[in-house]
Symmetry: C2
Subunit: 648 residues, 2 copies
DNA sequence: GTGGAGTCC
DNA sequence: AATGGGACTCCAC
DNA sequence: GGGCAAGTT
DNA sequence: TCGTAACTTGCCC
């Protein structure tokens, strides 16, 4: 139990700087402290990705770290982590070297560029909106607790092999999301394991959203247990303050759903997200919409708290002297060169505490991929692998049906027994979704992989479709503002096995049952003392905790919408609004689809604020919808839930 | 007469590289070749700014250079040029040093950024349009020749102190635009000097434009003697090829106006501009709208031929190994760091041979400044200087009346007897244009300047208004497409001495006569043997060869336009369309005028192609006007005549 | 925003 | 003896 | 566009 | 009890 300096807090270890001290150590030809220093960062890494985000601390991280380290030592997983840690350490010293070389250069240009950017960004600051980020407390655990009230005071976790979450009792022991079950058990031998019940979580999530819609009908579901709301309008109408509104909302959620939520209230979504973690669980935090208050808040905020900053980036930043967001300013002249344009701009907005002030329903975003993957016992037999691929393809077909789309490229993913991951993709001659197609097109690349590494032993296989084309009718949904969901899609346009199969049950995110594959059935039900050790079954078709795009529940009145006519694009076969000009525009667009897509994307990235790009979609907006200032009704933009490092 | 290597052609001298050779020379402590090397670049510089553009060569530049050098030697002007040359040489060695330091760095990121940019730009290539650049041959000279046919075969120039142009006979002697008269006389003792007659040039220019309107009613006047046309439509309608059309057009111009023009035909305006110089005079050149043809054309094109590349940039580029546009590619990883974002992007588009394919009438651009300046005998007496300032202010008032605008900031410019130039500006508490105001507001900054440099001796004084506010009614002119000019502006909105004084005579660019200031009258008429050396009088109110925005002549039918109503913005006092939404939008905008202006500007610069910014103006466009593909009816954009290095 | 430099006609 | 005038853009501060 | 690393829930 | 699954973005080649 090495009680080294600064290891009782969840702060990252100091980077071993190539200083004189280190040089001296090398002179001795004996890296005395190096073994230890190596452990430092590795141990920190082993703490897992969800470290600071979990909210509750007051845990002796050094003990936790030690236990995890001991539990992990020697495993293949550990080796892999070790290797990655080495690589990262090398990468960081490379960064530092580059910074040193950069220092010899004249950086005034970069400095001024940064200041210009800051000034420009500052102009875009909007403090007029009240954005709320809501996050359910220990969500899966909370849901499970409703059915198992006796677990209220005992530490328990949801998920077996890896914890998806655990209750706050368990967190006191150091248990966290993403932690291996057996490690958690070491940390907390009394820990109870519960299996996953996605239906329940989805149903509960729907209940919560039901309440949210009253406060902002255009709220944005950011994940199964999170949402953003813009309550500016609500506050104005009701003559209430934001904190007051959120208290009421949280009370109402608690009453109606019996679960507790935490909330952050701030001028933009990035800040709100950070704030929702401040008073977890069952609390809320208001960051005043005041420039200096925001700047001070950011100044002392550890970078790791930022939404796009994980273990790796945290270490890299710390190495160049950036630990808090306030530190960013002092290093602004390096950041572009060291970390690239995107990260640089992201960090700038973070330093300033800027973020999105728009909030848009999830169904206005375009899903970009559908996939499935599973872990299994090490496998190298080619026949078995083909069986597994077949099975994976069938799983994927189900998901594709549910998603109502096909894919034009197929990605095969494998993880070796060493935890090395490889992916290989093919573009299919046509958009596919049937298991047969998925299998037949992915088989060759699996074969090629086998050839590349003969006798490879797999622990995971996955398939994913990208370059999706929707088979849903309401492709242009967003153009006309929030259209109610009952499209029912009696489509004849894309007859190719049109799968009018997927009917959604209203508002609980369920769908018609698919024939449950009878499989390696571990239908485990863990008892409370956690003795019956069963492998988690993650192959259930209800395992979704990924992308499930549901309409926001309509709060009161259902608005009526005229029945539109649709024309199908001969190129992409997506239905289009029956308007000649628009249709032609779309075809033009489609003809150089990818090219234009890339261009637009890059442009959007370049021009940070306001400018709307050139797609016909964006051209269309502006005539209908909310005229609420600062909350324009966007057409399908990028997915704001994702923490793209880009501001906006 | 030093006949040094490579001095018989108009190529710039080699930069004295800081190579070993140079280092050795320094060891000798005797810069043996340095004196010579210094002369090289200085002589080249003395050749004047309009070197390669003049078109005709086959002149022994070494002789010319030598004569100019000898004629200039010892003058204050020469000293100043010498000093500037030194500074530039130093700057270039600084650039080279930076490049060397850059070489120690990892430039793969910059390299890839450049390649990405190239790819992106390539996507925007539009080869579908036929753009023509027309340029009158030796324009002023050609116009003068019509009245003096006996000068056909004798070398003559227009303008006294400095030649504005000269005929092609004179050019054989090395005479050029911008050359000092006395120098030209040394080069060509027989040279005849003619005084300027701006009325004639403007009238003739209008005649030419009359013809142009038949071929493209939306042609763009780029200067008094140049225009861009998009003849794609015309070609299609008439079933003629571009070369054929342009031949016909040039023939027609020659028949109707008796002057000859040269033309370049290419896929975009940048290329067309270059091409119009290829077969001057009275010739045309077609660059095939074929990617590889264009790339090859650019590959061997000296950078100096590019519209934004002058003497200085040419030398800087040559120093880093970029002499032709093809050379740009090899150095692309350095260009951003060495020359800045704008120059970098500009050079990239040049390497690719890309440029604007849009052409828009001049009246759709917004003038940004109005000014006047004049050179005089060295003057340091404060009283005289005040008189001069007073006179300048009065000149400016006239120009402001003609321009129908006021200015919110005032720029005083002085040139010392040493040719050093200084400017000082003030923002006026309100928009001004009256001579009294101009004088009273600029006097303090003149005084301050006098204080800064006691006893300063001036050779030039100028005043310029910027941040203009128009007092014309049709502020929103561009929104409704090309509106005919007869606005007549019986304005009552801005009553403050509304100056309904400026009435324009139709289509010849003249305006009502202002009381001619009786001044130091040198009403010179030079005789053909050029013995009577008189100082050019440039103070005439008809001296305009600057910005005179005239409507394109309407080719056949005059379109009728409904009489609009105008509301005046309480902030900027500019008239606005009488539409409540638009008006409110405008006011919002005005309230944070500068801030937003800057933002938009920067954004426009950032997002290179297509994206349209966020001003209400730009939002408005798109519903009316040409639906011609690739020729969108723009709202007031930036002035494309100006060679901003930005691609667009 | 200010001042200087470069560019073009 | 002696080197223009109007306008615009970009950059560094 | 392919492959991979990183981040988030 | 034996280190998840689904999804996105960004960088590099
Ligand atoms: N690494 C993970 N893998 C799979 N599922 C996860 C993972 N992390 C979280 N989840 C699931 C389970 C969580 O209950 C749910 C919401 O996550 P999150 O909000 O981050 O934590 P939490 O709601 O469980 O606790 P809290 O928000 O109180 O910290 O998402
Ligand atoms: N410094 C200057 N350089 C060039 N032209 C100038 C200058 N000052 C005034 N002008 C006027 C006179 C020109 O006739 C007119 C058009 O210029 P420009 O087209 O460049 O040359 P040009 O028409 O005289 O000859 P050409 O086009 O045949 O080379 O602009
Ligand atoms: Mg949560
Ligand atoms: Mg000309």
């Amino acid at each position: 139990m090495a009680t080294n300096a600064s290891s009782t807090e969840d702060v990252p270890p100091e980077e071993a700087q190539p200083t004189k001290q280190n040089g001296e150590a090398n002179q001795n030809n004996k890296p005395a402290k190096d073994t230890n220093a190596g452990h430092e960062s590795l141990k920190y890494s082993l703490l897992g990705p969800s470290l600071t985000k979990a909210g509750q601390d007051s845990v002796d991280q050094s003990k936790v770290s030690e236990i995890i380290y001991e539990a992990s030592k020697g495993s293949k997983f550990f080796s892999r982590e070790e290797a990655k840690d080495k690589i990262l350490t090398a990468k960081i010293s490379h960064i530092l070297a580059k910074k040193a070389r950069l220092d010899k250069l004249d950086l005034t240009r970069d400095l001024r560029a940064a200041d210009t950017l800051i000034a420009q960004l500052e102009l875009s600051r909007d403090l007029t909106q009240h954005i709320v980020h809501l996050d359910c407390d220990a969500f899966y655990a909370a849901v499970e607790l409703l059915d198992r009230p006796e677990l209220a005071d005992v530490p328990f976790a949801v998920g077996g092999g890896v914890l998806t979450t655990c209750n706050y009792v368990a967190r006191k022991f150091g248990c966290r999301s993403g932690m291996a079950g057996f490690v958690a058990k070491k940390l907390c031998p009394q820990l109870v394991f519960l299996p996953l019940n996605f239906e329940k979580y989805n149903a509960k999530a729907a209940e919560v959203r039901e309440v949210l819609a009253e406060y902002d009908p255009r709220f944005e579901s950011a994940s199964i247990d999170e949402a953003y709301l813009n309550i500016t309008e609500y506050c104005a109408e009701k003559g209430m303050g934001p904190a007051e509104v959120v208290e009421q909302m949280r009370r109402e959620i608690h009453e109606k759903t019996k679960i507790t939520v935490s909330a952050g209230i701030a001028a933009n979504s990035k800040l709100a997200k950070i704030c929702s973690n401040m008073n977890k669980p069952n609390g809320q935090f208001v960051l005043p919409s005041d420039r200096t208050a925001i700047m001070e808040f950011m100044r002392d905020l550890p970078c790791r708290k930022l939404n796009g900053v994980g273990r790796v980036f945290e270490r890299e930043l710390a190495a160049v002297g950036v630990k808090t967001c306030g530190d960013i300013y002092g290093q602004r002249q390096y950041l572009n060169q060291l970390f690239g344009e995107k990260a640089y701009e992201f960090l700038m907005t973070c330093y300033l505490g800027l973020g999105r002030t728009s909030v848009q329903p999830a169904e206005e975003y375009e899903r970009k991929s559908v996939g499935t993957e599973s872990t299994f016992k090490d496998m190298s037999d080619p026949v078995q692998l083909r069986e597994k691929l077949r099975w994976t393809a069938e799983e994927l077909e189900k998901d594709m049906r549910r998603a109502e789309c096909k894919g034009r490229t197929l990605v095969l993913k494998v993880k070796l027994h060493t935890y090395e991951v490889f992916t290989r993709q093919v573009v299919t001659p046509k958009a596919v979704y049937l298991a047969d197609d998925l299998y037949n097109y992915s088989l060759p690349i699996l074969a090629k992989l086998e050839q590349e590494r003969p006798g490879m032993k797999l622990r995971l296989m996955g398939l994913r479709c990208t370059h999706l084309v929707s088979t849903k009718k309401p492709d242009t949904l967003a153009f006309f503002g929030l259209k109610p969901r009952r499209t029912e899609s009696a489509g004849s346009a894309d007859e190719q096995s049109g799968s009018p199969h997927a009917k959604r049950v209203q508002r609980d995110g369920e769908w018609e049952q698919w024939p449950e594959e009878a499989l390696d059935g571990y239908e485990l039900e863990m008892d409370k003392d956690g003795t019956s050790e069963t492998r988690e079954q993650s192959g259930s078709p209800f395992r979704r905790h990924g992308k499930e795009v549901l309409s926001n529940p309509t709060p009161k009145k259902a608005q009526s919408v005229p029945e539109e006519e649709w024309w199908d694009c001969p190129i992409c076969s997506r239905p289009q609004a029956a308007n000649e000009r628009l249709f032609n525009e779309h075809i033009d667009l489609c003809l150089s689809r990818q090219a234009i897509r890339d261009t637009v994307q890059q442009e959007a990235a370049l021009s940070s604020t306001g400018s709307t790009g050139t797609t016909p979609e964006s051209r269309r907006s502006g005539s209908v919808g909310e005229k609420k200032r600062g909350r324009p009704a966007h057409g399908r933009g990028p997915d704001p839930r994702q923490k793209k490092l880009c501001f906006g």
